[in-house]
Amino acid sequence: MSVLENIGRLEIKMFKAFTDTIMFAFKVIFRMFQRRTYSSAMRMVLLNQIYFTSVQILPLFFIVSIILGSLLVGIVFQLLKQLGLTDFFGNVLMGLIVTELSPFLTVLLITLRSSAAINTEMAVMKVNREIKTLEIFRIDIIDYLILPRIINGVISLVLLSSLFSILLLTSGILFSRLIFGMSIDVYSNIILNSANLSDIVISLIKCAIFGFFITLIPIRFGLKASQELTSIPIVVSGGMVGVFTAIIIIEVLSLITKLF
């Protein structure tokens, strides 16, 4: 019985965590569309968050995107040539690399850099009672702390993923010329024929959802920290596991959406 009890307890705990996250997400989304949320202080925090998450990372992001993207495109093109599937390279480039892999790689980069930082920041603020202090001063933590980070996540993910895709397509010009001896006209024609506007829109929406959850989950876990310093690593690791679980769930859901 104890084993079954443990399984049941775990299930209830997981279900409660899931519903709590969804409820918290709805609360944040509701506040997102309220005009009074966007105070000058909030805008300043949002600006700083975008700066730290997107602008500061840009040189590194460009280097990683070019190296990783070129490798990816080069390997895929070479493989397609060897398999005699040259006709399908447009579909592979647009359907797999641009709409699937670029959001995934971007979300991984941003998660590793920013989600962990946000999680730790929130946990440290909780331990140092900074959040309590803000509440005493009647500063809304959702407006001041949570929303700027989440909106930043959404904006950064959408823009950086788009940049990644643009860089990939640019490196595709080079590799299609080197591997297939293809001119830019033919390349762009193939890409245009393979591109599906609905897939791109789904991909952008997916990026926005990624951005939302990879900031929301770390914040929620960070706020769960107790008053002890030892609780920081626990909530950070829990938050990161939650983020990666969310990424996988969103990927699966987006694939299911594409099927219909």
Partner: protein, 253 residues
Amino acid sequence: MSREFKVGLFIVCTTIAVLLALLYLSSEKGFFANVYTFTLSSKSGDGFTDGMPVVFSGFKIGQVSELELNEKGLVLIKIKIPQRHMKWIKADSTFILYRPLIGAARIVVTTNNLDSAPMPPRKIADVEIVNDINDLIKIVQPLIEKITQIAENLERISKKVDKMADKTDEQLYGKEGTLPQVNKILKNIINKLEKLDTTVDNINKISKDTSEGTKDFRMLRSDIDDAVNAMDKVVIKLDELISSKKNPEFEVP
């Protein structure tokens, strides 16, 4: 550069790039362009699907938007062509449903005279069907029949070969077969050769003895040579003695 400026620049530039890309894609996809619909007909709807590409010289110029069966039992295929590709669709254009062995099926438009009149919107053109798979099957079917015949012949031949092999086995390895008899002959030859070995040994001994005897002969010959030489000397002396005396008489010692 202030932080605000950098963030603003990043957001504006990236948003413009994304929007331009989406706009370009939309316009190239004919999202904003006028789209013309033509109706084609076919006796069979096999191979036709919604969204199937319509290609001209290998380039996609439109797609199948609708399929329906009319009251005469003909399949009507409605294709949508954006305005910028209308120049390829003429009154004498032919439409072929091409189903390749590998890859997706498509409707191929061929226009021999690009200066001819545009295709009237109400005209219903026939679609010819080129089916690589069926054509290949038609070509391959006689070959397969021949291959089947060859396989049957091979089977018969292999059965005959099997029977021959059985007979040969009996003749070779049976009790009265060739190989057992050859074995007997070989055994006899080996026995005889073993007997011959002793004879050869005796001959070897004789030849050894003979070679030793020839050594004695050499010694004897040298002795005889010495004796003959001595005799020669005696004869020479006797000749000298006989020639120097008046009375060539001598007394034998």
